[in-house]
């Protein structure tokens, strides 16, 4: 209910007081109160923040920035040790470029389906969002399946995790990426379940966008790995 400064002047005198609606007036920080904000309720678009930006999104971008350091370390380690393949076939003999190219294409297309899911979520089209998220998860599962097949082939050809430094650094790098894709698939399927049961609190489109940012990050890491590890010979 609006609190107002009530006029107290007699009716015969000119009214010089102001009537300000305190419920909708901006506070000293420039924030406009949102319905339910005082009770800690998340509205459709969440709370106003001191930066004017979504805190969730800010945190996600900081997390992705820090992930660059993690994968940077793993890629650098691989670059240093890729020539140390004593006791096993060389990388150029092991790598199956056609298979890896197809799986790279699959992961790239999963980024397309993910961004289409985000677009549908912004239109509040839950059914289309769920469909695109499921397709994204299936494409991600295809990528992980191809990676498991590749690892198995390498093992049969004599390259294990502890065979040499090349094997250790290769399996650590690509394995870490595979784990990230698997976590992404779990997030996507959980999201589909939550959307179908209408269990997402707050801004649904933003939640889909957060998962999307993580998924695209996994894709850009693979873009780097595909070129530096597979396409550029040692």
């Amino acid at each position: 209910m609006a609190d107002t400064v009530a006029p107290t002047t007699p009716a015969s005198e000119p009214d010089t007081t102001l009537s300000i609606d305190l419920a909708t007036a901006p506070d000293i920080h420039g924030q406009t109160p949102t319905p339910g904000a005082a009770h800690g309720e998340g509205g459709e678009h969440g709370h106003a923040t001191s930066t004017g930006l979504s805190n969730n999104k800010l945190a996600m971008w900081m997390f992705l920035g820090s992930e660059c350091l993690l994968f940077g370390g793993l890629i650098s380690t691989y670059m240093l040790y890729r020539g140390r393949h004593e006791g096993s076939p060389s990388p150029s003999q092991l790598y199956n470029i056609p298979l890896t190219s197809v799986s790279s294409f699959v992961l790239l297309m999963s980024s397309l389906t993910m961004v289409l899911a985000v677009s549908a979520a912004q239109r509040h089209d839950d059914r289309t969002t769920s469909t695109w998220l499921t397709v994204t998860a299936l494409l991600g599962a295809t990528f992980v399946g191809a990676q498991v097949f590749e690892f198995t082939e390498f093992y049969h050809e004599g390259l294990g995790f502890t065979t040499n430094l090349f094997g250790s650094s290769f399996f650590t790098l690509t394995g870490f990426h595979g784990v990230h894709v698997t976590v992404g698939i779990i997030l996507l399927m959980s999201l589909v379940g939550m959307i179908n049961r209408n269990k997402i609190p707050g801004n649904k489109a933003e939640v889909v966008e957060m998962i999307g940012l993580y998924w695209h990050f996994v894709d850009i890491v693979w873009i780097v790995i595909f070129t530096l590890v597979y396409l550029i010979p040692s």
């Binding site: 420039g30 979504s54 660059c68 350091l69 780097v224």
Partner: protein, 127 residues
């Protein structure tokens, strides 16, 4: 209420609005929350360009070209693909610049740190 008072009220109200600009209301989401980016068809076109660049990368590995040119082309395509996904699919091109700064600061910090690490191990030394 007289017209003079109404005019005074309007002027003061306008001054308050200008002095304390609201961040956003419930109907007007925070920067970065609103619908932004390309249309669905636009995203499909971007994906087609990315697929073409990937095909070009793979094709390069089957063509006999000098090592330096090969490396330069592959690295350029990699950077271009990376930038395209980050800018269009991750919406950095359309979003608040602070997100771009956050992400690229992490990325360039990683690049700097690991380039120094590789230099320490004489990775770039041809011998």
């Amino acid at each position: 209420m007289s017209s003079e008072t109404t005019e005074t009220e309007r002027q003061i109200s306008h001054a308050v609005d200008n002095a304390v600009e609201p961040a956003h209301s419930v109907d007007e989401p925070a920067h970065g929350d609103h619908k932004h980016g390309l249309t669905d068809l636009g995203y499909v076109k971007v994906a087609a360009v990315l697929a073409l660049m990937t095909a070009l990368e793979v094709t390069l590995t089957y063509i006999d070209i000098p090592g330096g040119v090969f490396m330069a082309l592959l690295l350029s395509l990699m950077v271009l693909k990376f930038w395209t996904v980050v800018s269009y699919f991750m919406h950095l091109k359309f979003d608040n610049p602070i997100f771009t700064k956050l992400f690229y600061s992490g990325l360039f910090l990683a690049l700097g740190v690991y380039c120094v690490a590789l230099l320490t191990f004489q990775f770039f030394n041809p011998s």
